[in-house]
Amino acid sequence: MGEAAGAKENMIQNHTIQRDETKCIGCRGCEVACSLAHQAPYRLDRSNVTGARFESETLFSVCRHCEQPECLLVCPVGAIHRSSAGIVKIDSRTCVGCGICAAACPLAGIRIHPEKADKCDLCGGNPLCVALCPEGALQYQDQTSMSLGWKRSEDLISPGVSSCLGCNAELALRFVLRILGRNTILAIPPGCMGGVGVVGFGMTTGARVPVFFPLLDNIASMLSGVKREYSRKGVDVNVVAFAGDGGTADVGFQCLSAAAERGENIIYICYDNEGYMNTGFQRSGTTPLGAWTSTTPVGRTGSGKKQRSKNLPLIMAAHEIPYAATACMSYPADFERKLRKAMAVKDGLAYIHLLTPCPTGWRFPSEKGIEIGRLAVETGFFPLWEMERDVYRFTVDIEELKPVEELLKSMGKYRHLKKGQIDSIRESLVKRIGMIRSLAERTEN
């Protein structure tokens, strides 16, 4: 069960006030702040935000400024607008107080005080509730400034690497280095990102940070040595592997597993495009059930891969390392948070399993990578979760999974699937989500 009546499809929120549940003490300070900013001061019943103690815990509720707001669609007098910056506002002069918006909002974002409807307007971009929260539990997240922040940070990969059109792994690598910054040493084994020139030709490399080209089977061992040498010198540096699924799940697994077990302090990012994509789309340990690859062909006798993929992120989490997570470039804010958590780990290995849809190998139009990543998450094919010191939780909670067919039919590598195969894919993904769910519930209780 996800959010009960919560986050619906297409309700992408550009601006949100987020609360850290662990810090909130339910003091109603946000309510005071809101009434101070909008209404008669200290009229808590007029506050557009709720932040109080309720049923032995704390409650927080505020408008989420949906991308396609239901309230806007049903207002009979056209009083609700969404600004180009993404702030949903009610024009109180136009509002007639009919209350239909509140009856349509699935997220309890609108309050009807006797004559008019009212809701959070984010104080025009500088919410007072956030500023006045005594516990620092509230955070204003503004997607526009966030993406501008990413854009302003330095791109540490040179332009003109020779990856395929629409390559998600290249996008991810650039993003990773924008977050990790220059204090990073990179290891990129043979694979797509090695092949496209990031590790360099001759005397030059394609990255503005030191980059190694380890063998497929010694990535983690090599980085262990690099990290230990810097630690010995007293230098704190991000030592990062950016390796494909072949190098991680298959060829280099023994040394990764050993490094995890030894507690080496490296960040290991596996970009999973579900096969050996730079050498001609051969199957790997993470190629999913039913998928076409050049070594699991479709024809009279074959119908795609017969085996299930390794559940590699869970295998890594089972090493009881400080941090393991799954991520996808379709959810960049989520990915950034995870990278920062991985950077903060100083006592062991941090592992991030990154899904990177591959237009060439998966056979979909090159502009669809982000959409397909999103679909993979929304269908439950690739759930986004993290394990932080044995505490498991979903980071993007999809309440109602979309039918997996939507994902499968969006690309060529599943085009041949028969109903029975789709059923077993569905079965397997439900099982895997259930597994994470039960781990999350175990730690919740």
Partner: protein, 409 residues
């Protein structure tokens, strides 16, 4: 059927469902050609908004969408009289023919007529579109005693507005309660008392027999003064456009869970559409704004080959009765086996009733009891399991609503 980029979509109607179709197509990246056919003058007003606009000066700002909203699509301000599905054509009043690849019927509904004088064909005034409002405003100015036929949402809303203007208002309702379908009998009684206290008289089981020279004779034989008679006795879906076609019609145009009619590439949504009921599975009309917007959205998604099937229509209404707030949702009359929790508080004048079935929400009636209705609507639509929490939710529907909306259970 996959959507082609060059397709021509024709949309007939211009109210909530139609606006939802336009907005959803835009969001989904529709690149075909969209034509809107509606006889109503731009900008249009929502029928729901009209009683609120009564006597108001700045009506213009309260239109459904400003004129700029329609930029980028072709608008034909003319009545569409019929369709020819065999040739994929819409026939306009002028005789002009319009080709479509896909057709969305969002023609809405009209107020049910009430004939006051069979001989002259004189009809009671009704309120459905902007010109009706002007007509009623003009006539109301010259009237002192006003008779309103129908104790539903529109009738009672008009009664409130006119009584606020100092008119003497009498409401006649044919059934034995007001707001039929929205509240149960007991609550109806409570509300009638409230209206009467506020100076609005309501007569149940009553209708008008004839009217002559400002004197109306009621079904009871009693005669009352009436300078103006308004009727709000329900609505009739505007289905004339599909007469003599294969588009299946019962009361409204029958649509499936993807808003498709019985004819290929013709969709229906909003007040004109008859859709499967969430609880019974039988098709029925569900004329309200929230349902119309939802159906419009589904129709557009269906055209684009996206989205999920419509789970079925659920009644949802929110209404202000002379300062009292009413919210009515789903099936609030319990069937056998349902769990009903109910509380009437005389001193605060509040009433709440929640109906559950096997741990899921079925219906809700709230009077003067604040709660976020949309949350509960979605608890029903998504059949969110709430077993064991029923009593607690009933205890504090406002906070539980907020909690259920924001957090995992």
């Amino acid at each position: 059927m996959a959507f082609r980029k060059s397709e021509k979509v024709v949309l007939i109607g211009n109210s909530h469902a139609a606006v939802a179709v336009i907005e959803t197509l835009r969001r989904e990246g529709f690149q075909g050609h969209l034509t809107l056919v509606s006889e109503e003058k731009l900008p249009v007003f929502s029928p729901t908004a009209l009683p609120y606009l009564f006597g108001g000066r700045e009506k213009g700002s309260r239109c459904l969408r400003p004129v700029e909203f329609y930029h980028g699509l072709s608008v034909i301000q003319e009545k569409a009289v019929s369709i020819d599905p065999d040739r994929s054509q819409v026939i306009l009043e002028s005789g002009a023919k319009l080709h479509y690849d896909r057709l969305v019927l969002a023609t809405g509904a009209s107020a049910a007529p009430v004939v006051l004088d069979a001989a002259s064909g004189d009809q009671a005034l009704t309120l459905r579109r902007a010109p009706d409002l002007e007509r009623i405003e003009k006539r109301a100015k010259r009237s002192r005693k006003i008779l309103i036929l129908g104790g539903g949402l529109i009738g009672l809303h008009l009664a409130k507005v006119l009584s606020g203007k100092g008119k003497e208002v009498l409401v006649l309702e044919l059934k034995d309660q007001i707001l039929p379908g929205l509240v149960h009998r007991e609550l109806s009684g409570l509300l009638i008392d409230h209206y009467e206290r506020e100076g609005i008289r309501i007569r149940l089981g009553s209708s008008i027999k004839r009217i002559h020279d400002h004197e109306a004779v009621l079904s009871s034989g009693e005669s009352v003064g009436a300078d103006l008679v308004l009727a709000a006795v329900g609505i009739r879906p505007n289905v004339e456009i599909v007469r003599e076609t294969n588009v299946a019609v019962r009361e409204g145009i029958l649509v499936n869970e993807r808003m498709e009619t019985s004819v290929n590439r013709v969709y229906g949504c909003g007040d004109v559409a008859e859709c499967r009921d969430f609880f019974t599975g039988r098709s029925r009309l569900n004329p309200n704004v929230i349902s119309a917007a939802e159906q419009g959205k589904r129709a557009a998604e269906s055209i684009m080959g996206k989205g999920e099937p419509h789970p079925g229509v659920i009644s949802i209404n929110t209404f202000r009765c002379m300062g009292w707030n009413l919210f009515s949702l789903g099936r609030f009359e319990p069937d056998t086996g349902d769990q009903m929790l109910e509380e009437l508080s005389e001193e605060t004048g509040s009433f709440k009733r929640l109906v559950f079935r096997e741990g899921t929400m079925k219906g809700m009636l709230l009077l003067n009891c604040p709660a976020d209705g949309g949350v509960y609507y979605n608890l029903i639509r998504r059949q969110v399991p709430l077993r064991g929490m029923e009593e607690r939710i009933f205890g504090d529907p406002l906070r539980w609503g907020k909690r259920l909306a924001q957090k995992r259970i």
